[in-house]
Symmetry: C2
Subunit: 235 residues, 2 copies
């Protein structure tokens, strides 16, 4: 049975890394002594080792060990054998490129669909949708495909931002960009605000966290969904 | 001799379409009775015809006729024979995809390099750089390549936005995104604020408009460039 947490962000303003999610993660990974961490989204600033160390420190507080996939000789085997998996944030173009380059996109999808508990934050959440085409990230690298894990039957826009009232900026708002996506695609898009996450248990998908989320369907007005909304029938 | 205007935006807040640029465009296109308009970046909302009509109305005020490339049977011939060319804004992924699909990326580059006066705004400016990899747009469609016209020896970030002081948002700032680009690419990136443009005359590239622009070089601190700065030696 699928067991997935898909979070808009790893970190809340003035919070420490993963802090707001730890009670949820303690329950989510309750059968795991250790989890596999995928640091591939991080484009620099910190190394994969340093990124993994940051995750290790956060998970140490709930007594779960962390191993970085970049230290595993056989990445596919590491995924298959993991007790739990966490993909961290960064740049989605880079993450998707590396998942394809390491030839682990499919095995990651299959493994999580088969029940290995998964956590994604930001870019690691983006890849849970059908495609990465509603990311906010900059195309710093050319991925072989925009198709992603397809763990849920729709797309995500993490770090969703409402249009700023009184803005004089003429660049597109997030809502306009998602509307552009729907000019060519019929996949629903969920704008997930920082502090919200999705809980996937089998085929049940539930909005969690204190905030509402904004749902975009092709050719329809966006809709605000309250926390605890059941999204299972969205596709 | 190359003769190009590369503008951050078509429209300023509370201004009408192209209004702030019209005195510049009157001079830029002074030898043109008509120009060819490329509406391919627009992902919907208005049709190519409607978009072309909007451009036609703006250029009518400086007595220049406009023809939409989507109405031409032979797009490549239309580019080669144009007195001047304007590519409007919208979504850069869509624009680049369509330029490749119509097989006109190369002929457009050659034609403008050979001296046909060109105007780009927003997405139409993004494509003037070496690649579209510093666009702000959402990847709503998968282009066959990120390579673009290469009319200037660096990349652009139109609609450049400074980080917001006191923001509680945890998504990446524009500056962080460009830094991510430089983790994998050494091409300089110019953040062009709304109201700024580049004037290219032969090999001379000059920053125009009232605002400063922000220059990002790999592994260096960003630099503010005042208007009228000569960017010819940037590469």
């Amino acid at each position: 049975m699928k067991s997935i947490i898909i979070a808009s962000t790893s970190t809340l303003h003035e919070g420490s890394y993963l802090a707001y999610l730890l009670p949820t993660l303690q329950q989510h990974f309750k059968d795991c002594k250790s989890i596999l961490f995928i640091p591939f989204a991080r484009p620099g600033g910190i190394t994969h080792d340093e990124y993994t160390e940051k995750v290790t420190q956060a998970f140490a507080t709930i007594n779960i060990a962390v191993k970085g996939i970049h230290t595993c000789e056989d990445a596919a085997a590491a995924i298959k054998n993991a007790e739990g998996i966490f993909t961290g944030g960064g740049n989605t173009f880079l993450l998707v490129t590396q998942l394809y380059q390491h030839n682990i996109m499919q095995i990651l999808s299959e493994t999580v669909k088969n029940g290995t508990p998964y956590l994604g934050t930001s870019a690691g959440s983006n890849i849970c949708g059908l495609s990465m085409q509603t990311t906010n990230d900059m195309p710093i690298i050319y991925p072989p495909s925009f198709q992603t894990l397809g763990l849920i039957p729709f797309n995500l826009n993490p770090h969703y931002l409402d249009p700023q009232i009184n803005s004089t900026h003429m660049g597109e708002t997030r809502e306009t960009r998602i509307k552009e996506f729907h000019a060519f695609n019929s996949i629903p898009v969920l704008g997930l605000r920082e502090g919200s996450w999705l809980e996937v248990k089998g085929n049940k998908i539930t909005l969690k966290g204190a905030l509402s989320a904004r749902l975009f369907l092709k050719d329809q007005n966006p809709e605000e969904l309250e926390t605890e909304t059941d999204l299972s029938h969205l596709n």
